[in-house]
Amino acid sequence: MAKVIVVTSGKGGVGKTTTSASFSSGLAMRGNKTVVIDFDVGLRNLDLIMGCERRVVYDIINVINGDVSLKQALIKDKNCDNLYILPASQTRDKDALNIEGVERILDELKESFDFIVCDSPAGIESGAFMAMYFADEALIVTNPEVSSVRDSDRILGILAAKSKRAVEGLEPVKEHLLVTRYAPKRVNNGAMLSVDDIQEILRIPLLGVIPESESVLQASNSGTPAIHMEKSDVAEAYRDVVGRFMGEDLPMRFINEKTGFFKRLLGGN
């Protein structure tokens, strides 16, 4: 049975799209048929991160309006055979999405995909709501700072109260915490919240920690999901996240400050 996973956060700029791109790529690299949908209608970014912006002809709104078939709008990823992208519309706004249309698309995708990753826009308005409504599982992307944690808390509350699973009284949406832009050094000198601090507030299982790194910026600018970057901590961290999501028991890495010795051992970034 296909799983719908929403990548959400409440706050903007915390790494939802970066995570959606790497996470869906990681799932596909393991042989799962995966599709990633950009719900950020009007501010589409996912296609840039995935490096397929020049191949966007049709988008999710065209499919919802019945202008084209789903097959016509899906773009095959350049790096992974099993990965497809459904881009957002650049010229419309979020009101063009509607719940029946989204449900129709998801139902059709469920027939041929194992995982459907929904990249949510920031905020708690209709776009974010549409992205999360049909979710089976949720990746809550949080930065180690108080405003991001509070917004994640708000999103978790909405998931628990307003998602389809909550409204229909089904098993609740399975929640995963993903801490991004983590800098152990700044945690140690008190400038950032620690993973423990964040978990103490949000109290959901930790799926992974992605370290703060220059390579994320390089990856975005070159249109390659960070998980494909050679010799990068971020790529390793995202591979761990996917592994844990698939049920592997992997130790948490990148939560402690690197020592010179480890730096040499792990090859740095």
């Binding site: 509070r150 917004d151 808390d153 708000r154 978790l156 509350g157 909405i158 628990a160 507030i201």
Partner: protein, 247 residues
């Protein structure tokens, strides 16, 4: 042939009503003070039924003129529905004036208990009467985290939360509030004015505490002696007291 629906049903129901405690049989004084009180909140009563509580004047041989009292109250938008307590004489006078007699719940329970010890046959009958009279609304129990932006209201009841209450979340209860986890949001107990309501928390980290409208915020942080510790909150006059929960 279809059976016709009955025109009415008789059921017992628990409703909360306002009680007006009569503390004096002097009607002139009563009228004067009531007018002053009503001037502060003119629409407060707005045709809500009111029960006259007479325990304060039970000892008095004097009977207030209930007919006159009812008329005066009606003239001020108050609707007297009946009396509770009072002497036998006072209750008879109240019936004469067209008022109902409310049974005194506490006395009834004592009677039931006495009856329980004596007769099995009576127990079956009395048992039915007790829940309708004294059973409070069930406590609302929440076992999932209460998160930023969420608001939980236990209407006419107490509230128990078994999971974390985060900053920006709101707990409201007409009765007591218990939180058996860190309490970081707002807790508003006795929301409809119950001054006896209390708040108990496992770890005091609240943003705001309120009992019967008397509230406290913690701009300077929570006092050291209760910060992140088990604590209880109650109202002492118009002061909100937060004390460590020692055990």
């Amino acid at each position: 042939m279809t059976q016709e629906e009955p025109a009415f049903k008789i059921k017992t129901g628990n409703v909360s009503v306002l009680q007006l405690h009569l503390l004096s049989t002097d009607l002139t004084r009563f009228k004067k003070e009531l007018v002053v009180r009503l001037a502060q909140t003119p629409d407060f009563f707005a045709s809500r039924p009111i029960v006259l509580e007479l325990s304060g004047i039970t000892g008095s041989d004097c009977c207030p003129d209930f007919a006159e009292l009812v008329r005066f109250m009606q003239g001020h938008g108050m609707c007297a529905a009946g009396v509770i307590g009072g002497s036998v004489l006072q209750r008879e006078d109240a019936i004469q004036a067209g008022l109902g007699i409310f049974p005194e719940a506490i006395i009834r329970v004592a009677k039931v208990e006495a009856a329980l010890a004596e007769a099995v046959e009576i127990r079956e009958v009395e048992k039915i009467a007790v829940p309708a009279l004294t059973q409070p609304k069930p406590t609302l129990v929440i076992d999932k985290p209460v998160r930023t932006g969420q608001r939980i209201y236990a209407e006419g009841a107490s509230l128990v939360v078994l999971a974390i209450v985060n900053a920006g979340a709101e707990l409201i209860a007409d009765g007591d509030i218990h939180v058996y986890a860190p309490m970081r949001g707002k807790a508003i107990a006795g929301a409809r004015g119950n001054e006896a309501a209390r708040i108990f928390v496992n770890s005091m980290e609240a943003e705001l505490l309120s009992i019967a409208g008397c509230f406290k915020v913690f701009e300077e942080g929570i006092p050291e002696n209760v910060r992140s510790k088990p604590a209880r909150v109650h109202l002492d006059g118009s002061r909100l007291l937060i004390e460590p929960l020692l055990y």
